[in-house]
Symmetry: C2
Subunit: 135 residues, 2 copies
């Protein structure tokens, strides 16, 4: 049988605060945990993975709803739907990368053009801030 751990250890191992683990259970992002006779929650490998998955997703800017959607794919029987959902996610990510790349290029150009000293009127960054072009 697999070892199970308490909520404190789960929290430490997965990098998610205890309160947040309970919160995720409350909102249904995690299944109700198994309990000891005392009422203490017990967790196995599966929920550790799930929690780490959630943490990674959040770090990437997905909302909990989006993460839940991703996770629920795992229980889908319909492989085509899974693939479609993954494609939508991909399109999202690509759009965000494109936007950020534009910003990055803009910032790079400004920084490169700014002498880093002298009069404010000569600073291209300040000038750009006061009149940007449309996105």
């Amino acid at each position: 049988m697999t070892t199970t751990i308490g909520i404190g250890q789960l929290a430490r191992r997965s990098g998610v605060p205890i309160d947040t683990v309970r919160h995720y259970e409350r909102i249904g992002l995690l299944k109700p945990a198994a309990r000891l006779a005392s009422g203490y929650r017990r967790y196995g490998e599966a929920e550790q993975k799930r929690l780490r998955f959630i943490r990674r997703g959040k770090a990437l800017g997905f909302t909990l709803d989006e993460i839940q959607a991703l996770l629920s794919l795992g229980s889908s029987r319909d492989v085509a739907r899974v693939r479609g959902a993954a494609s939508e996610r991909l399109a999202d990510v690509e759009r965000r990368i494109a936007e950020l790349t534009r910003v990055r290029d803009g910032l790079r150009a400004l920084i490169a053009a700014c002498p880093g000293h002298g009069r404010a009127e000569d600073c291209p960054i300040l000038n750009a801030l006061s009149q940007e072009s449309e996105p």
Copy 2:
């Protein structure tokens, strides 16, 4: 003299809801607007630009606090500080792009490997969801 417009027109032109414009004023992201004798707010070119800047920033995932920081650079006298702040922003953006690029590549690989039909056990997307590697 420049034409000035009311809050409704400002909202339409800058793509920000009226209530949100007032909200921005309440929280200090916009300066208190000029007023007519009636109390109606009046806006000029400058605040239209500012609002559009804010909208763009939000679209890129910056918080209002970050946007305010960016905007306040415009009133900074210290060109070196402006340059430094812009560099920090750039580093941020680059980090986010790198993260998203990893996700994109992962998703692409999964989608490419998924046949889009057949048994769930053969779907690499579902398999990846149940056991991801660490970020």
